[in-house]
């Protein structure tokens, strides 16, 4: 576990611990047997529910126990009131706090929310609030982000409206807090695509122009950050960007980016003597796009050869890939 000092135990302390553990292991085995027997005999009542609770508190990764628990709940559904469901939510929350990365707990929580007697948009809104808090604690926990998408989907279904713009704002917030947040950038890609597909953007040109400013800012502030460059690569290749901007604006965008990236790369070379591999890669991509869209002709002077040669120097781990590209695309 991160951040805890390891303790060296003396022989007696170790023996004492072993004795304690022997009893614990015995008790645990007894509990497992009890639960499995109940499951086999299909005993669906509150008592067996209690046994699964005991077991899951010790070992929440025992998926069979979760399945049995759901079977029990299904079978005694009619006896259960909304208080039971609330308690079930509390139980998952308690175990999540102790084990925030166990898939089965997240699954169970989603199941409870979907089957809750009072399943309405309110529960999901509360859920969103909880996810926000978890993402405050650890904004790069992909369980959190995946769960967030499920929550949002349910809210959209029940509320009958799209939450894409609000979610887009949220990713901006998260990236502002930490430029390296891959999950947030990834979410941004998903959201922009969805917004275009469902025609949810009032002024497409403005959105894209703002986005261009945003990524330029990110490029200068975090020139070594893979998350930023990956996003830029997606953005300039995204077909809706080309369609909206149209050739003239698109050409200008690529030119501006090229100028800025060259500036950053030259600055890196000046400062540390080495060029920036990300800059070089994106410059090559830009030139490819310029050729693809007819901005550059095939007999124009292409600098990609030069950039690939530099990449071989600066990024020797991938030298063979660059050589392959050089040979296959830029042979004389």
């Amino acid at each position: 576990m991160h951040g805890t000092k390891r303790k060296q135990w003396s022989k007696e302390a170790l023996n004492r611990k072993r004795l304690n553990d022997v009893k614990k292991i015995k008790d645990y085995r007894k509990l497992v047997d009890k639960v499995l027997t109940l499951k086999e005999s299909q005993v669906y009542d509150l008592k067996s529910l209690k046994s699964t609770t005991e077991l899951l508190e010790i070992n929440p990764e025992f998926n069979t126990a979760w399945n049995f628990r759901r079977d029990i709940i299904d079978n005694i559904r009619n006896e259960l009131d909304s208080e039971f469901w609330d308690n079930e939510l509390k139980f998952t929350m308690k175990t999540l706090k102790r084990f925030p990365k166990v898939y089965w707990i997240w699954n169970h929580r989603v199941w409870v929310l979907s089957h809750h007697v009072d399943s309405s948009i309110k529960i999901w809104q509360k859920e969103l609030f909880i996810v926000n808090q978890m993402l405050e604690l650890d904004s790069r926990n992909y369980h959190g982000w995946h769960y967030r998408r499920i929550v949002i989907q349910n809210m959209e279904r029940l509320g009958n409206k799209s939450l894409n713009h609000q979610e887009f704002q949220y990713t901006t917030e998260k990236i502002n807090q930490n430029i390296s947040n891959f999950s947030a950038w990834h979410q941004r890609v998903q959201l922009i695509s969805m917004m275009f597909d469902h025609d949810e953007i009032a002024n497409k040109l403005d959105l894209l122009k703002d986005e261009l400013d945003y990524i330029t800012n990110a490029m200068f502030t975090g020139a070594d950050d893979q998350a930023v460059w990956d996003y830029i690569c997606w953005f300039i290749e995204y077909d809706n960007v080309f369609k909206t901007l149209e050739l003239k604006e698109y050409t200008k965008m690529l030119n501006d980016l090229q100028t800025n990236i060259v500036m950053i790369n030259d600055d890196d070379k000046d400062f540390s003597g080495k060029e920036n591999p990300w800059c070089l890669k994106v410059l090559i991509l830009i030139e490819n796009l310029q050729c693809k869209r007819g901005i550059k002709k095939s007999d124009d002077v292409l600098k990609s050869k030069e950039w690939l040669a530099k990449l071989i120097e600066v990024d020797p781990l991938r030298a063979n890939r660059y050589r392959y590209l050089l040979d296959s695309q830029y042979h004389e």
């Binding site: 991160h2 951040g3 805890t4 000092k5 390891r6 060296q8 790069r140 200068f220 502030t221 600055d267």
Partner: protein
């Protein structure tokens, strides 16, 4: 005997938290200290390993280190309060202290001038409502003193609060620092290339000692030149980095020192939260030094106040006190220069001056503090004041939430390393600037100007600082700031501004032939007077140097292992985690139980 007018001690205040959680929780007991909760001893031991005279920061840390190492320690102070040069005093105690300076009984302090409003004492406020530090200090979260506070558990006797707000005074206004990646990214006013340059510098400075190729060529030049030439930064960023983040004193600061200081700030940021510095409530260095004394007492040291060392004879090893009693000192006598008696001839020269101005104002000042906090730092870079200051003026502001002053008041600690007459001019100019600022910032006269506050496209509020500056310039203050207390004094020190204590300072003259027969302090090892440094940085280094001179090596300095009865699986010893860990997931993992690794059985 003891001043009846002292403030409640750390043992007498109800602890506002209990120690740890879980079944083994017990209320924290702060050990008693002679002269505070316990009476002073009537007699002192006949023989000790070490005699320490003066209970300032360095001496108290040393006392604790030696006691826990096993040496017998007698720790005395001629005053009727603990803390010496680091003490935290009430208004009445300051009055007496000022008198003592002016009649010569406190060496190396001079030019003390004091004004106290009649509102304190007979009117609204009592003298002991205030706890005034003679040597105000802030604690960086990544520092050797903090590690020792945790190791020795003295931190349990103290309460700390965070300090996030560092302001730089520029063009008549107080700008707050932007130094984190998030703030740089979000800053609408910074040009893109500047953002890049700042990020490059921050990345470099965190590991600067591993990249000599970048800074070594500038090793003997000033940091300002390095920042401008190598990183292409401009004056506003250079000044912020040097003076507000690095807390340097002037523009000529050399590269290695500045890099060390800037890194100290940046690496302290995010250790416990989004702030680099802590301050202690109820008093700064005064509380900390007292805490170490208590720890030393638990470790076996004997404490006595009102005890003055008259002379020490290095041949017979006998130390003689003013009340006629004696003690045989086996190893060493350590003394603070402020505790010397007549005939002390071996005190090191203290050629440098630190000028301080401490004020108490009847104003809340919370506009300067971050939410939930009660302190801030303001830095006046060279040339920013009306007096044309060549050296920085540093101000440390404490509000009532620090429990050092009552609600509605605030303590302002100003200091400068400027020498001579100019110093007071600079301090006065800084004071005036602060006065003007706090009056207009808390005034309701500015009114609603819609152009001043704007909203950005993503909902952020932006302040139009140009417009704001304009309305300030046209502003004429209607009220005057009420001062409750104003204290000027000059303290002398042997440490030049900007350096660490020189170890040769401690070369005790052992050659008996060179002993001056008239001197009362032959063979005494003198500690260093506090320097102008606002952090506690020099303290542990100085204590360690002395420790090594006494014990032989500093390997076991505070190498304490407190054996707890509840050292069993299940008990959580979170204290050790705080320093080691810089994992992002700390917030979540903290609730899990600790992992234990046993010894391998063969």
């Amino acid at each position: 005997m003891l001043s009846p007018e002292r403030r409640p001690s750390m043992a007498e205040r109800r602890p506002s938290f209990f120690n740890s959680t879980g079944p083994n929780a017990n209320p924290l007991i702060v050990p008693h200290l002679a002269g505070i909760e316990d009476p002073l001893p009537e007699t002192t031991p006949e023989k000790v390993d070490v005699l320490i005279v003066g209970s300032g920061m360095v001496e108290s840390v040393l006392a604790a280190a030696l006691s826990w190492q096993g040496s017998t320690v007698l720790h005395i102070d001629k005053n009727d309060y603990y803390g010496d040069t680091s003490a935290t005093l009430t208004v009445d105690q300051i009055k007496r202290w000022v008198d003592q300076i002016n009649n010569g009984s406190i060496p190396f302090y001079e030019n003390a001038k004091l004004y106290v409003s009649t509102l304190i004492g007979s009117g609204k406020y009592a003298s002991k409502d205030f706890g005034i530090d003679l040597s105000p200090k802030i604690l960086f979260t990544k520092s050797d003193l903090l590690s020792i506070l945790v190791k020795s558990r003295v931190h349990q006797y103290l309460e700390f609060q965070s300090l996030s707000n560092f302001h730089t005074y520029e063009n008549d206004s107080f700008e707050k620092l932007t130094n984190t990646k998030q703030e740089i990214f979000a800053d609408q006013k910074l040009p893109l290339m500047t953002k890049r340059n700042l990020m490059k510098f921050i990345k470099f400075v965190l590991n600067w000692d591993k990249e000599p190729e970048i800074w070594k060529p500038y090793a003997n030049r000033s940091m300002a030149e390095f920042l401008v030439e190598k990183f292409r930064l401009e004056k506003p960023q250079v000044f912020e980095l040097l003076f507000s983040i690095g807390l340097c004193y002037n523009i000529d600061t050399k590269v290695p020192e500045a890099l060390q200081r800037i890194r100290r700030y940046l690496s302290s940021f995010d250790v416990y939260g989004p702030f680099p510095v802590l301050y202690s409530k109820y008093g700064g260095a005064g509380e900390l030094s007292q805490g170490f004394c208590r720890s030393a007492a638990v470790g076996g040291a004997t404490y006595k106040l009102n005890e003055k060392l008259v002379s020490y004879n290095p041949t017979t090893n006998v130390a003689l006190f003013s009340d006629g009693s004696k003690v045989n000192v086996v190893e060493k006598v350590i003394m603070s220069p402020t505790q010397i008696s007549e005939d002390s001839k071996n005190v090191p020269k203290q050629p440098y001056q630190i000028h301080r101005l401490t004020c108490i104002v009847e104003k809340d000042c919370s506009t300067w503090f971050s939410e939930g906090e009660s302190a801030a730092i303001v830095v006046f870079p060279p040339g920013s004041l009306k007096s044309g200051n060549k050296q920085v003026v540093q101000a440390f502001i404490l509000g009532s939430g620090s429990e050092c002053c009552p609600s509605g008041t605030c303590i302002w600690y100003l200091s400068t390393t400027e020498q001579g007459v100019r110093a007071e001019l600079d301090l006065d100019a800084a004071l005036e600037a602060m006065e003007l600022s706090i009056i207009r910032e808390t005034s309701t006269d500015i009114g609603d100007d819609e152009d001043i506050v704007q909203f950005g496209s993503n909902g952020q509020t932006l302040i139009n600082s140009v417009k704001l500056g304009k309305s300030f310039k046209e502003y004429v203050p209607r009220e005057k700031l009420q001062f409750l207390f104003k204290l000027y004094y000059t303290q002398r020190t042997s440490t030049p501004p900007f350096e660490v204590v020189d170890p040769t300072l401690f070369n005790v003259n052992k050659d008996t032939e060179k002993f001056d027969p008239e001197a009362s302090d032959n063979g005494v090892l003198y500690t260093s007077m506090p320097s102008a440094e606002i952090s506690y940085d020099e303290v542990v280094t100085a204590a360690k140097v002395l420790y090594e001179k006494i014990v032989g090596s500093d390997d076991d300095f505070f190498d304490i292992d407190f054996e707890d009865e509840d050292d069993l699986p299940g008990s959580s010893q979170d204290y050790e985690n705080a320093i080691e860990d810089d994992d992002e997931d700390m917030g979540i993992d903290k609730s899990e139980s600790a992992e234990f690794v046993g010894e391998m059985e063969i």
